[in-house]
Symmetry: C2
Subunit: 247 residues, 2 copies
């Protein structure tokens, strides 16, 4: 893990950009750093739909909230997104998705599988590698949360990664049938945000996915509004979920 | 309004039983009473499915939470329930409901209408009369919330009673088609609790009702578990909703 920049942000956050095996990412930690002899700082991995440059303002808000709660946060660029090399299979799938939507056709299961499953296979080992590197840093450790991002990626990670202890999911990305099946094997506590009027999201598919998760503790919070209209109080409730499970 | 008893409970709550025109009820206020020259204490009306004696322990918990937040709470017995005279039409509808359920038949719209609509017509003017009397008491005033109870009653009250400014609904009671239509005229902020595995509740009907409410701000919070298994954090989120809207 190579740190390439470091800056102190308003509100008590230290931001450090890094690369790990060619994957760019950012780590945000509370400032001043907690006493190293105290309990290690819990970590929340911040998911997003790809393109870190575009997503940074929204990620910063989530990082600042987490830092105020005493948590570190980190994110990495998704495979094939932002400044990273394109993945030919993903590019073909995206071209097909655009064609389907421009033609006003329904986005079928084949298109969804082609778009999401290669991303899951590529992204999950990367999240695990960055988790290894982050938890080796002084002061970081303890329970790990995951927040947002591509639902199929988080679902797979929750199944294969025992260090993950709680996750906030944001309904709104395509869900392959394989993910729905995988969801039954997820057991960590979940907090699922659903925007009731999200034009790009199939509401019934989100409800079916919530129903499928095997977790004994899961909460669905639905609010009026579109994809980017999550109200402040819903963000507060998600933060309260992490405080319950990561402290 | 005639007060018949008064006792101080642990945790800073004054409990006073009252009757108003033959309707028994209870008022809980924070202790010590706020400075009378300060802003008046907001009031939350506590709904329930009927039979105050049986419901009192659960109502007490909600009253104590509200008092800790600086709110008064009050409840009254439902028409035809507890110690109040039976209502023949309601009794006939309940007999028919029991017969239907024991025969394993689906509870149809006629049974639901007969069971709920007379209750709405009888209960709503009573809630309004008790609200008149409560808001005339020294120190009480300001915004009024409603929490729980029979959904059709709260929906009607939210349409006809301008003093109501926010409501927490607990999905799980039968919803007549007339209530679904009335829901579109509700405009106050709503916080709807749904227990995902409530055996006595039609999940899809609850989702349809949430969708129908005309309110510009509405939140659905669904948690795993049966009707009485609402987790502590869901109660906390409902309390936070009232803090946002009644303070």
């Amino acid at each position: 893990m190579h740190f390439s920049s470091e800056q102190r942000l308003d509100g008590g956050v230290l931001e450090r950009d890094f690369t790990l095996g060619g994957i760019p990412g950012t780590l945000w930690t509370p400032e001043p750093a907690p006493n190293p002899t105290a309990a290690p700082t819990p970590l929340i991995l911040l998911g997003h739909p790809g393109d870190l440059g575009r997503m940074r303002p929204r990620l910063l808000g989530r990082a600042a909230q987490a830092a105020a709660d005493g948590f570190a946060t980190a994110t990495i660029e998704l495979p094939g997104a932002g400044e990273r090399p394109r993945l030919p299979a993903l590019e073909r799938a995206r071209t097909e998705l655009r064609r389907t939507m421009q033609a006003g056709e329904t986005v079928g299961p084949d298109v969804i599988d082609a778009l999401v499953l290669p991303l899951v296979d590529a992204a999950v080992p990367e999240w695990q590698a960055v988790l290894d590197a982050l938890l080796a840093l002084p002061g970081l450790g303890g329970p790990v949360g995951f927040s947002g991002g591509v639902i199929a990626v988080v679902t797979r990670l929750a199944v294969v990664e025992p260090r993950l202890t709680a996750a906030v999911l944001f309904a709104g990305s395509f869900v392959p049938a394989a993910t729905l099946a995988e969801a039954r094997r997820v057991t960590v506590p979940l907090h699922v945000l659903l925007q009731w009027d999200d034009a790009g999201n199939d509401r019934q598919a989100s409800l079916d996915l919530f129903d499928a998760f095997g977790s004994a503790e899961k909460t669905l919070t639905a609010n009026l509004g579109g994809h980017t209209g999550v109200p402040q109080h819903a963000g507060d409730a998600a933060a309260a979920f992490f405080r319950r499970h990561l402290r």
